[in-house]
């Protein structure tokens, strides 16, 4: 089975006192083994929410429609027992480790060992200890670090612990949710190096989520750009980063200056305005209020995702067929 | 709206002074806070109960004659059960329990509030200074606060009441002096976190003096928390006054809910089943303390929206 992850028309709505808030609208996503897919967008665009559905971790107040197919089975309607078996052993998540994704009062080694014990109840303690040491070395940390508590580790070290933890049960799919945010640049480079190496060595599929398009462009094979809960562009990463079709994707890639490109130093970058409030979306295209290329027609209807070549899609009526 | 605002027209919009702007902004945030408070049902219920008891305390002379407190003028029998004449029966001296209850509200509430004022003044001052200053004065104050926190309240209150003598003021003083440390710690940690904020540094660079900073920047940010804490402190103070009176440390010439219960205990109202003497004062204490607690919790919710819906 080569299809690892298939999302079909996934929509997620939060039920609040003030009414229904659409956080994710009709997202379609494909990911295969050995592939790195980037998911880009500003904070609040729904990318982390989309990823949370892969392991059915969305909050209980959320209503999800559509299908999230992991190796052919729909995660959203799976039986509880099958879902628990899938969690971590089929797919795992690398959370932002620099913050509070680790239990502060337990040793990091125990936290890495926890899913191993859970998914293989008969395994011996010695084997688990050996495996934990092996995982730590894979991410470039000495095995003795397993005895440390989270507060004794630096941000970069904690992030590597999160990666080691995510690999513990040999998953086929890894979701990396903002793995390098809150890390300084040098550490960022190290962590990304570890991640890309792992994908190629272990043949896993990786969904990398970030608001930093330059990070994704480097690492990912393909990129999906989200805005206001919808996919607005997707395609090969070089093209999405270098020659974006959708005005938002173009602005996003322009926001990160390219060293060595003299034109970039003079070109205006950055977007005016704020991301849309999901509880109060503007009519038509959600990006229209901030778009430099918007016209009247943009506010009349939601632009469909149209194809522009073999593996290129954009949701904008202002893009002409090449 | 001020007169200047009334005269404003579209062509000549009034330019508000900095102070007027600040006042309007404060009023808006107060209205917002009030609306959030209103949505908290238990907080509103507490406020209503407090209003009721405040009314009873203030209007005591109208509701029950002060003569009813005098032992020499008592006309009822000893520990009579409730009747049409005495709605809550009589105490061991023949006085109407209802009258005692109404007048007792005054003492209990008054002492509670007075003690709270003392406690909050000391606690806020110590908290502000130990939080804001650096250097040995802050360290000494903090150490002092921690030490006082360790001393158990009731033994200290008993000793102080014995040494100072039994009067309303002394009781309020004793409670105030023994309950300021927890407030001081709270204010101190809040002051510390405000001190970290960038605008304090900027003000300092601009040459603002220490007291100016405390008054203009730290105090307005700390006051809401002080306010919420005050409400909870009153609850504790009222409980403390009731307990001290029950143990016989209150003013023997004044009637409070605690002293009523002390009488009830001393004359064996429990064994004789005179429930009308035991239950009502306690119920009043519970209602008032619960009301203050609910209001205090609702205020905390207004300040810290994260707590909403608890």
């Amino acid at each position: 089975m080569s299809d690892l992850l298939r999302m079909r028309d996934v929509s997620l709505t939060y039920r609040t006192e003030e009414g229904d808030v659409p956080a994710v609208r009709d997202v379609n996503l494909d990911l295969d083994r050995g592939e790195i897919l980037g998911l880009a967008g500003e904070s609040g665009c729904g990318k982390s929410t989309v990823a949370s559905t892969i392991l059915r971790l969305q909050p209980p107040t959320a209503r999800v429609t559509g299908e999230v197919l992991f190796e052919g089975e729909d995660v959203l309607t799976m039986r509880w027992g099958d879902l628990r078996a899938l969690r971590w052993a089929g797919a795992s998540i690398v959370f932002q480790g620099a913050l509070h994704s680790l239990n502060p009062v337990r040793r990091v080694g125990d936290q890495i060992a926890e899913p191993i014990h859970l998914h293989d109840p008969d395994i011996s303690d010695k084997k688990v200890e050996a495996r934990v040491g092996e995982l730590l070395e894979q991410v470039g940390l000495p095995a003795a670090r397993a005895r440390a508590y989270p507060h004794q580790l630096s941000g970069g070290q904690k992030q590597r612990i999160m990666i080691a933890m995510a690999l513990a049960c040999r998953p086929r799919l890894i979701v990396a949710d903002e793995p390098t945010t809150a890390l300084d640049v040098m550490v960022q480079a190290q962590v990304l190096h570890v991640l890309s190496g792992l994908v190629h060595e272990l043949g896993v599929g990786m969904l990398m989520i970030s608001h930093d398009l330059s990070v994704l462009a480097d690492l990912c094979d393909r990129i999906v750009v989200m805005y206001g809960g919808r996919v607005v562009e997707q395609g090969p990463s070089k093209l999405v980063f270098g020659e974006a079709l959708h005005p938002y994707a173009a602005a996003l890639s322009a926001a990160f200056p390219r060293v060595g490109d003299p034109a970039a130093r003079f070109a205006p970058s950055g977007l005016p305005g704020d991301p849309p409030d999901p509880a109060d979306l503007p009519p038509g295209c959600s990006f229209a209020p901030r778009c430099p290329r918007a016209i009247d027609e943009c506010t009349r209807a939601l632009p469909e995702l149209r194809s522009f070549g073999a593996d290129r899609q954009a949701a904008c009526i202002r893009v002409e067929q090449p | 709206m001020s007169a200047a605002e009334h005269e404003a027209t579209d062509e000549h919009p009034v330019r508000l002074s900095a102070r007027q702007l600040a006042r309007r902004r404060r009023r808006e945030s107060f209205m917002r806070g009030w609306r959030t408070f209103r949505r908290n049902r238990s907080g509103m219920l507490g406020l209503v109960v407090l209003g009721l008891f405040a009314f009873i305390a203030l209007a005591a002379p109208l509701l029950a004659s002060a003569e009813g407190l005098e032992v020499t003028k008592a006309t009822g029998g000893v520990l009579e059960p409730p009747s049409s004449e005495y709605w809550l029966g009589t105490d061991d001296q023949g006085r109407s329990v209802l009258t005692l209850l109404i007048w007792g509200a005054r003492i209990s509430l008054f002492v509670g509030l007075a003690a709270t004022v003392i406690s909050m003044v000391i606690g806020t001052l110590v908290g502000l200074i130990s939080g804001y200053s650096s250097g040995w004065s802050a360290a000494v104050l903090f150490r002092l606060t921690e030490w006082f926190l360790v001393i158990p309240f009731l033994p200290l209150a008993i000793v102080l009441a014995t040494v100072l003598g039994r009067s309303l003021f002394n009781i309020a003083l004793v409670i105030g002096v023994t309950s300021w440390p927890s407030t001081a710690l709270l204010i101190r940690s809040q002051t510390l976190s405000i001190k970290e904020r960038a605008y304090i540094e900027r003000a300092r660079v601009l040459g603002a003096g220490r007291w100016h900073q405390i008054r203009k920047h730290v105090l307005p940010n700390v006051m809401p928390m002080v306010f919420a804490n005050t409400t909870l402190t009153v609850a504790i103070a009222i409980l403390a006054e009731t307990t001290l009176s029950f143990l016989g440390l209150g003013d023997p010439t004044r009637v409070s809910w605690g002293s009523m219960l002390e009488d009830a205990f001393q004359v064996g109202a429990i064994t004789t089943g005179a429930w009308w003497f035991i239950v009502p004062p306690g119920v009043c204490v519970v209602l008032v303390v619960l009301a203050f607690t609910l209001v205090g919790q609702a205020l905390e919710e207004v300040l810290n929206p994260r707590l909403k819906g608890r």
Binding site: L57, R84, A85, R87, W88, A89, I93, F95, H100, S101, N103, P104, V105, R106, E114, P115, E137, V139, G140, P142, A144, A148, Y149, H151, Q152, S154, V194, G197, L198, E201 | R143, V150, I151, P152, F153, L154, P155, I158, V159, L160, T162, V163, T242, T243, F246, L247, L261, F265, I270, T271, W275, I278, V279, G282, V285, V286, V289, L290, T293, R310
Partner: protein, 343 residues
Amino acid sequence: MSLTTAPTAVETPRPRRRSYGRYVVGKVAGSVGSLAFVLVVNFFLFRVLPGDPARTLGRGRFSTAEQLAEFNKTYALDQSLPQQFVTYVKNTLTGDLGISLKYRVPVSDLILDRMWPTLLLVGTSTILAAVIGVWLGIRGAWKRGGAFDKVSTGSSLTLYSMPEWWLGLLLIAVFAVGWGPIPGIFPTGGLHSVEADPGTLSGVLDTAWHLTLPVITLTLAYLAEYSLIMRSSLLDELGEDYLTTARAKGLRDITVRNRHAVPNALLPTTTVIALSMGYIVAGAITIETVFSIPGLGLLGVEALEVPDYWVLQGTFMVASAGVIFANLVANLLYGLLDPRVRT
């Protein structure tokens, strides 16, 4: 299969015992400091007395000038204040807490005599309250807003707003005296029945029977605060990210709660229990009064009548020392539970 990039400088985590040892030393030093402060406060409290100290402190005991002089010498009452303080500290540290005016025996004897009923009463109630209160708080927080939570929180708030001794009076009235259909089966007070010999098994049961209502009263009074705090702490923890990590690993919800959320939520609860020691002492005093239990609390209250200053000073010292010690234990326990304070 190793992808080692240059690892960051290898520091072995400091051995656990050494950092905890340092933590213990720090806390013990703090406790000693607090004790010293209490000694000073205790000393000065009673020197605020009006009138001649010997006359007030030795009231009614001396008829001759020699006895008065002897008394003065022992307690250095005729000397300067600093001298008095030194004598006082020396006496206290050697266990000489004065002579009771009421009972005419050394205060230290009285205290030792009456200590165990208090410890029994307070110890049992605190442990029961901590266990039950924490359990109530956990269940309430986990199913927040449910029927159990509403009833539990409402009752806790009401109990918390109630003077514990009033609850005791009500329980006596209903269960010891009897009210309506409910028979009064419990004793109304005291620690032993007159005929009972505390040493025998039946005597022990008799003591336990006498302590039942007092322990129930104190337990209810204490657990209200503990359950409210535990519930609040757990609700705070439930929003934390590491719980999402735990759930993502495939753990059952109950395991996520008990293995991850609760140990973290217990930390602020432990702190609060430590801070409430003063309240626990107050409870001992009032409940012993209401139930006539001959413990330290009742001793202190009885001393008010005379007033028996040496007893008051002694019980104040013991109460404060007890709170300081209990705080120390709670701090040491906290140091075991939270690795962050050890480094």
